[in-house]
C-alpha cells in the first residue's frame, strides 16, 4: 500500500466513508447545495434522545451564574440606565471540563451503537479530553492526535495539559510537530485501526450542543421571566455557535441576538512552526474562526454540520490581553477560576453589556476548566519566555505574536467589529474557486441565502465585489 502523503490523501474518501459510516451523497441536491436539515436529522437523534444520552453520561445540566459583581462593574462604567445583567453558563462543570463533552457523548454513543471498537479524534483542544472521557465511560478504545510541539521540541503548555488529561482517561495520544499533515496521520490511524472518526463536525456531534442552547434558554427564563437578549459564543470551528443557536431557536428564542467572539490573532500563520508558540490561545481565535466560517467544508468530514454564518448575527474580536484580564476579573470578583480560552466570550460580553439597557440580559454561554498549563499565569509566563512583550497599557495596541497588552483600567475593554459581509464575501470567493457559478440553479441560490443568512441581492452585490 502507498503510504506516502499523496498516496494516503488519494484514499481519503474511501477511508472516511468507513470511519464515519455516513453516505453524505444522500443529502446532496446539486454539486454545491445539500439538504442541511435532512443531514442534521441523520441517525434519528432528536433533541429528546440527545438529552437522554447526555443525562446517562453525566453531561449537561450545568449551573447558570449571574455575574453580579461584574454587572456592577459594568454599570459603574455605563451611562445611567445602561448595563445589562450578565449571566454565565458554567460548562466547565461537565465531565472533562468543557462543553465539548456534549458533542463527545453523542459521537461515542453513535460509534458504540454502530459496532466500532474504538474512536479517533484529531484535536489539540478540549475535545480530545471530552472524547477520551466519554470513551472511558462507554468502554471504547480511544486515540487522540494532537499538534503539540514545535521543531525545537517545545510544547505549548495548554496542549501538554490536554495530552495529560487524555492519557489520564486511558487514551493513546499521538503528539505531532506543527503542520496540517496531522490529517495524514489521522487518516493512517483510522485505516490501521478501523476505529470511528469522532469528528467535531458530524451532524450528531453538532446536535449534541443544541442542548446547551435549550438549557440556557430554560434557565434564563426560569430565573428572570424573560428570554435572553444576547448570547455571546466563543467562536473557533463554528460548532459551538451553530449548536447553541439551533438550541435557542428550538427553545423559542428566535429573537435572541447570537454574537460570535474570537481572539484576534491576525498576522499569525496557523501552519507556521515559528508562529506556533508565539500565541497564547490555542483555540477560540480568528485563525480558526475566520477560515471555518468562510469555508466550513475544510473539516475532516465531507460535509461540515457546523455552519456558523447561518446563525451569526454579529461577529466581534477581542485581544489576548483582554481575555487574560477578564479571566483574572472572573476569579477575583466572582470567585470562579476558569480557563482563559473559554473567557473570550466574557471579554466581549462586558463591553457589549454597556451598550444595553439595565433590564436586558446578556449570556456568556461557556466556561472551561483551568489547571497547570491552561492557566493565565502559565500562558503569560510562557509568552514572556518566548520573547512576547507583556505590559499594561492600551490593549488595542497589541500585535499578535509580538505583544500582549493587559488593560490598565476596565474601561479599556472593547470589541472590534468584524463585518459579516466581509466573511460572506470570502465565503463566496471560495465558492467561485470551487464551483461554476454560471451553472447555478434556483436551488443553489436558495442554498447560498440560507448558508449566508442574507438576501439574494446582497449575495449578488458581494459577488460583484462592490460593497
Amino acid at each position: 500500500m502507498d503510504n506516502s502523503y499523496q498516496g494516503v490523501m488519494a484514499r481519503k474518501n474511501e477511508i472516511m466513508k468507513k470511519a464515519i459510516g455516513i453516505d453524505y451523497s444522500q443529502f446532496q441536491l446539486t454539486p454545491l447545495a445539500f439538504d442541511y436539515e435532512k443531514m442534521m436529522a441523520y441517525g434519528g437523534y432528536t433533541i429528546e434522545k440527545i438529552r437522554e444520552i447526555q443525562k446517562e453520561q453525566g453531561v449537561g445540566n450545568t449551573p447558570l451564574y449571574e455575574l453580579k459583581n461584574i454587572t456592577k462593574l459594568v454599570r459603574k462604567l455605563s451611562p445611567k440606565g445602561k448595563g445589562a445583567r450578565i449571566f454565565l453558563k458554567d460548562e466547565g462543570a461537565n465531565p472533562s471540563g468543557s462543553f465539548k463533552a456534549r458533542r463527545a457523548a453523542i459521537s461515542v454513543y453513535h460509534a458504540k451503537k454502530n459496532g466500532y471498537k474504538g474512536v479517533v479524534a484529531a484535536t489539540s483542544g478540549n475535545y480530545g479530553a471530552a472524547v477520551a472521557s466519554q470513551a472511558a465511560m462507554q468502554n471504547l478504545d480511544c486515540i487522540i492526535i494532537q499538534e503539540a510541539f514545535d521543531s525545537k521540541g517545545v510544547y505549548q503548555p495548554e496542549i501538554m495539559e490536554k495530552g495529560r488529561a487524555c492519557e489520564a482517561y486511558g487514551s493513546e495520544v499521538l503528539q505531532l510537530s506543527v503542520g496540517p499533515e496531522l490529517f495524514y496521520v489521522f487518516l493512517r490511524t483510522l485505516e490501521e485501526t478501523g476505529y470511528f472518526n469522532a469528528s467535531l463536525y458530524t451532524p450528531f456531534g453538532i446536535a449534541g450542543i443544541e442542548t446547551l442552547g435549550i438549557e440556557l434558554a430554560e434557565q434564563i427564563m426560569e430565573r428572570t421571566g424573560r428570554k435572553p437578549d444576547k448570547v455571546v459564543v466563543t467562536h473557533a470551528g463554528g460548532g459551538n455557535l451553530t449548536g447553541t443557536a439551533r438550541g435557542l431557536k428550538k427553545a423559542g428564542c428566535e429573537e435572541t441576538e447570537i454574537i460570535g467572539a474570537s481572539i484576534d490573532l491576525e498576522g499569525l500563520h496557523m501552519a507556521s512552526d515559528g508562529d506556533f508558540n508565539r500565541k497564547s490561545f490555542t483555540t477560540g481565535h480568528t485563525g480558526f474562526g475566520v477560515p471555518f466560517a468562510t469555508w466550513p467544508d475544510r473539516a475532516d468530514v465531507p460535509k461540515n454540520a457546523a455552519r456558523p454564518l447561518r446563525y451569526m448575527d454579529r461577529y466581534v474580536t477581542v485581544t489576548q490581553g483582554e481575555a487574560f484580564y477578564v479571566t483574572e476579573m472572573l476569579a477575583i470578583l466572582e470567585g470562579l477560576e476558569r480557563g482563559p480560552a473559554g473567557n473570550t466570550s466574557l471579554a466581549a460580553a462586558i463591553p457589549l453589556a454597556m451598550e444595553m439597557d439595565e433590564d436586558q440580559i446578556i449570556v456568556v454561554q461557556e466556561t472551561e476548566y483551568t489547571g497547570a498549563g491552561k492557566h493565565l499565569n502559565a500562558q503569560l509566563s510562557f509568552a514572556i519566555k518566548n520573547g512576547i512583550d507583556v505590559y499594561l497599557g492600551e490593549p488595542r495596541e497589541s500585535v499578535p505574536g509580538k505583544s500582549i497588552v493587559l488593560p490598565e483600567h476596565p474601561r479599556q475593554l472593547s470589541v472590534k467589529e468584524y463585518s459579516l459581509d466581509r466573511l460572506r464575501a470570502t465565503y463566496l470567493k471560495n465558492i467561485k474557486q470551487n464551483f461554476d457559478i454560471n451553472s447555478f440553479t434556483e436551488i443553489d441560490w436558495q442554498f447560498l441565502q440560507a448558508e449566508l443568512n442574507t438576501s439574494l441581492d446582497n449575495i449578488k452585490k458581494l459577488l460583484s465585489g462592490k460593497e
Binding site: Y5, N69, L73, K76, L77, S78, P79, K80, G118, I143, A148, F149, S151, Y155, P157, M160, E161, R164, E167, G170, E172, V173, L174, Q175, L176, S177, V178, G179, P180, E181, Y184, V185, T193, H269, A271, S272, D273, G274, Y325, E328, M329, I332, L333, A372, G373, H375, L376, N377, A378, Q379, L380, S381, F382, I384, V390, L392, L406, P407, E408, H409
Partner: protein
C-alpha cells in the same frame, strides 16, 4: 550507557514525513522541518536512548521509533510569577472600591 529495562514506560520519536516531503501548502519555515511524532508506551526489549525500538501503547498497539525519553514526565505547570497580574488585580479592586458615578 546503561540499558533501559524491558517494560519501562518510555516516549519514542518517529519521523513521519522528512524535510522536503511536507504538504505543498505549508509555509517555508515548516517545510524546512520534518513532521515528528511522539508517543508513549512500554518498551519491548532492553535498549538505550537513541536506539530504534518498539513499544506497546496503552491500547496494545505496537509502534517503532527512536527511544527519546525513559519515564517521561509532564513538565507543564503554573509558570513563574507574572508581576503584571498583580497590577491588573489592583486596578480592578480599586475601581470597584471607587465612587459610583455612571460612566466614570
Amino acid at each position: 550507557m546503561e540499558k533501559i529495562p524491558q517494560g519501562t514506560y518510555v516516549e519514542i520519536t518517529k519521523e513521519v514525513l522528512p524535510k522536503g516531503e511536507r504538504a505543498p501548502q505549508v509555509p517555508s519555515d515548516t517545510q524546512n522541518t520534518p513532521l515528528l511524532l511522539k508517543v508513549k508506551g512500554f518498551l519491548q526489549t532492553p535498549s538505550i536512548v537513541g536506539e530504534e525500538v518498539e513499544i506497546k501503547t496503552v491500547l496494545g498497539r505496537k509502534i517503532t521509533g527512536v527511544l527519546t525519553n525513559p519515564n517521561p514526565r509532564y513538565t507543564h505547570d503554573f509558570g513563574d510569577v507574572v508581576p503584571q497580574l498583580f497590577k491588573v488585580r489592583e486596578s480592578i479592586k480599586n475601581f470597584m472600591k471607587s465612587g459610583d458615578g455612571h460612566g466614570q
